[in-house]
């Protein structure tokens, strides 16, 4: 359960950005969270409400774009969802792949007033 610390990090980053750019109110924060990032989106949502009190983010919405864990097979170049396929290529059965996505932990953007 490190989502509280992660969310505090996010709120701090947004606050610093707002201060530097003279932004008075942030109405939305958009995150990109990979399914193997080690972070639970629902827990982040819960922590968001706690962390934004008395900040420029107060009242803001949180949008979380979940990013699937995708690998590309080194043998046949098939792109496949890693977890559903138990980390092996559903086409050729190969276990050698490059990670394309799934570990994202990114503040994608903001909506400000």
């Amino acid at each position: 359960m490190h989502e509280l610390g992660i969310m505090q990090n996010i709120v701090d980053t947004v606050q610093n950005y707002a201060k530097e750019n003279n932004i008075k109110e942030v109405s939305k924060v958009i995150l990109e969270i990979g399914t193997i990032s080690g972070v639970v989106p629902e827990a982040l949502e819960f922590c968001f409400d706690v962390c934004i009190n008395d900040t420029v983010l107060e009242g803001a919405k949180l949008e979380i774009d979940k990013v699937a864990a995708v690998g590309q097979c080194k043998e046949c170049e098939e792109k496949f969802e890693l977890i559903e396929n138990n980390f092996s290529c559903p086409v050729c059965g190969g276990d050698n792949w490059d990670m394309i996505s799934g570990r994202e932990l990114i503040i994608k953007g903001l909506e400000v007033i």
Binding site: H2, I6, A69, I83, I113
Partner: protein, 240 residues
């Protein structure tokens, strides 16, 4: 009537809509940790000390493995340990009883060590005197995976008592690991677990990871682990 589009809404609503701006940030949430980790890495590089971040579930045997490793290698190299737990200095005391310097970090609320904690802990060590620094992370198979500490190698200790399929169920921590130590091999007969299947799951999640079967209690297979460490220490000495 609204002057913008002629609708019946109040002017104020449209003004608010118009004044909303989208800003692209694309900022990594853990960028601050990543920056500090890079700084740590630079220090380790300059001091030519090999740093191994040991991660596992609670009770997989990290401390027992370190105790034995230190006892058997300390005549060949200078070893230090940073150990993280939520509470108590029990592990640091155990490790210090092997005759090396150990520094305990109590994370209190946090379920992992981060690069900032490590940075401060380094003040306790005169790093240039060390060949090998172990960081025994907080026992947790999820959270430590997200935090780069600046280490050279991440080693996952997985116990046979955890069952074969941990790598598939908790892939995150295995994705960046350089080596997996399948510990408690002395219990395989009792548990009826299949170590080969477990190792095949490790390979499937991370084809680049090496794996060794060990028992920190009996010493079985530990020689290969020591050879791995010796090689890493030697390679770092030879660079630059």
């Amino acid at each position: 009537m609204c002057e913008t589009c002629g609708c019946q809404e109040t002017v104020a609503l449209h003004q608010q809509e118009d004044s909303k701006r989208k800003i692209e940030l694309e900022e990594k949430v853990l960028s601050k940790n990543d920056r500090l980790a890079e700084r740590n890495r630079g220090v380790f590089e300059a001091m030519k000390v090999v740093v191994v971040n040991l991660v596992s579930s609670p009770g997989a045997g990290k401390t027992t493995l370190l105790e034995r490793t230190i006892r058997e290698l300390k005549s060949e190299m200078t070893i230090g340990v940073i150990v993280g737990d939520q509470q108590t200095d029990r592990d640091a005391k155990r490790l210090e009883s092997t005759g090396v310097k150990a520094h305990q970090i109590n994370t209190i609320d946090a379920c992992h060590l981060d690069a900032h904690m490590i940075r401060h802990s380094l003040d306790q060590f005169s790093l240039s005197e060390f060949n090998l620094l172990f960081i025994e992370n907080v026992g947790n198979l999820i959270c430590p995976g997200a935090f780069d500490l600046g280490e050279d190698f991440r080693v996952v200790v997985l116990a046979t008592t955890e069952g074969e399929d941990k790598p598939l169920k908790y892939p995150g921590i295995f994705l960046d690991s350089h080596l997996v130590l399948l510990n408690k091999m002395d219990l395989v007969g009792v548990l009826k677990v299949d170590p080969d299947q477990c190792l095949s799951f490790v390979k499937r999640v991370n084809p680049l990871s090496s794996a060794l079967c060990v028992s920190a209690r009996t010493g079985e297979g530990m020689d290969k682990w020591y050879d791995w460490l010796r090689k890493k220490v030697m390679e770092k000495k030879e660079t630059g």
